[in-house]
Subunit: 304 residues, 2 copies
């Protein structure tokens, strides 16, 4: 049996993922749960982590590397920020060790953009970028990382030049659950309506300022013409994603190719959205990226 | 003592307002409560209305004219819609009488835009327009009617040519209460921050597609630079209002003047927003408009 070299943890706001990694970077075991920062802040970060370490039979001296919201001020131990423009290598030099633990447990810092006219923060995505581009990116790239808080990152040789967060996913949840549009979504099943989604993306890209009107049309359309709740849901989603894409595509340099780092449903939706706008993208899996980023960091920290 | 001629009621989603009106259109008594459609749908429209009629000592045969959401499908009695392009005079011809009442109680219809590419509905604002422009508007106008669901109405000689609803007010509530930005607003008092508001309006007008990023900056700014919760609130409000204005100002014909029909806090906020963008507006009070519109309609229905 291969021996474990370290434990990698991606600890987000609402999700917890842990991998037991061998010396060659292979995955020996995996754990996923919804014990994200919000849950762990109540039940205790220490207890949550230990329960998963026990489940994968991690030996007592196996080191643990964590990225994500566990390093936020409201997280386990605040891991601070590396400021933009940020070399990706700087992330590895600025880990914070969790005090009072016999085991070596470290949290990676986030990235801050201390620009008064465009302040921004990320925690976790920097580790995906490390996995996708390596410690010293050779080329320029514009990276789209969809999520509750989507990140658009300008990568330049060596690191992160600038980035912008769009609260697209969270807006979708707030609009779908806490406005009059919730009635239009009642009873929706998992069936996708690709036509409704791509039409909404195109409409929002064409006139993004009209987003709050395009959203209300979901309600009006159902009152006047009827229609399926799945189409209503995809129209809301497409409107918000189309608005996000409109902002970044308008600012994009002509010759820069977009890298889409995403997994699962978000990868599919954003892939459809870029396709509807005839914008080519290079897709990279987000799950693979964060695991590879944690492995790269662990190697740099413990293998030396 | 002057004798009452009719009772006028503006019955919205979340508010109820009633006026006892004399033959000259003067207000003899007024009632305001939060027994809007949502509340009245549970407690009974009949009972809510009667309690207020009793409070102003309305005689049993005094007729009542109602506008607003009481005429919606989920309201008291569905009053249907007049379709665009809609003569304002058509509203008066399409009232629905509430059945089973000894008193003559009528509800004004709403307006529907049965355009598959821009479906829209209004209930209540048509009565404000009637009050502001009369039964037969002589001039063209672009009308901004701020609210939970802001309406932008193109008035042409005789009536309503087109309109668009922006769910700006409802988005503000959903974002302020049901996203991560709620933390940034915690503890905010009533103090206004005009500078934060107008700066946000200007930023959203300049790049409306970036709204979901401008909103997240509220969070980032507080994490990185601190700042007062009142400024955070005004930035959210200014971003959403600026996005709405960006959509309609971009589509506006150069020589059309904007009429702003609003009252209270919304009148002040939208006035500030238009001022920040150097766009002249003609303000009209919304409360006065709806009362005048109901009086005009009552005259046409019962005085003949």
């Amino acid at each position: 049996m291969r021996e474990a070299a370290h434990v990698a943890v991606d600890w987000g706001t609402s999700s917890f993922r842990l991998w037991l990694i061998d010396r060659a970077g292979g995955v020996l075991a995996e754990r996923r749960s919804d014990e994200g920062m919000t849950v762990a802040a109540n039940s205790g970060f220490d207890a949550v982590l230990q329960s998963h370490l026990d489940a994968v039979h991690a030996v007592p001296d196996l080191p643990v590397l964590i990225c994500g919201m566990a390093g936020a001020r409201q997280g386990w131990v605040e891991a601070g920020y590396v400021d933009t423009p940020a070399r990706l290598a700087a992330i590895l030099e600025r880990t914070v060790r969790v005090p009072g633990q016999s085991r070596d447990i470290r949290i990676l810092p986030g990235i801050a953009q201390r620009d008064e006219s465009a302040p921004d923060v990320m925690r976790g995505e920097e580790t995906q970028l490390l996995g996708a581009f390596g410690v010293d990116p050779a080329d320029d790239a514009l990276v789209c990382m969809p999520g509750t808080h989507s990140k658009w990152v300008t990568v330049r040789r060596g690191g992160i030049a600038r980035f912008a967060t769009f609260m697209t996913g969270e807006l979708f949840g707030a609009v779908a659950q806490h406005t009059i549009l919730s009635h239009a979504l009642a009873g929706a099943d998992d069936a996708e309506d690709v036509a409704a989604f791509t039409a909404a993306v195109v409409a929002a890209r064409e006139d993004p300022a009209r987003a709050a009107n395009l959203l209300f049309q979901v309600r009006s359309r159902q009152l006047l013409f009827g229609g399926r709740p799945e189409a209503a849901r995809e129209t809301i989603s497409g409107t918000l994603i189309g608005m996000e894409l409109a902002a970044e595509l308008a600012a994009k340099a002509r010759d820069v190719r977009i890298t889409l780092i995403a997994s699962g449903r978000l990868a599919r939706l954003y892939g459809l959205a870029f396709g509807a706008l005839s914008v080519p993208v290079s897709p990279i899996d987000a799950d693979v990226s964060v695991r590879r980023g944690l492995a790269t960091a662990a190697d740099a920290i413990w293998a030396s």
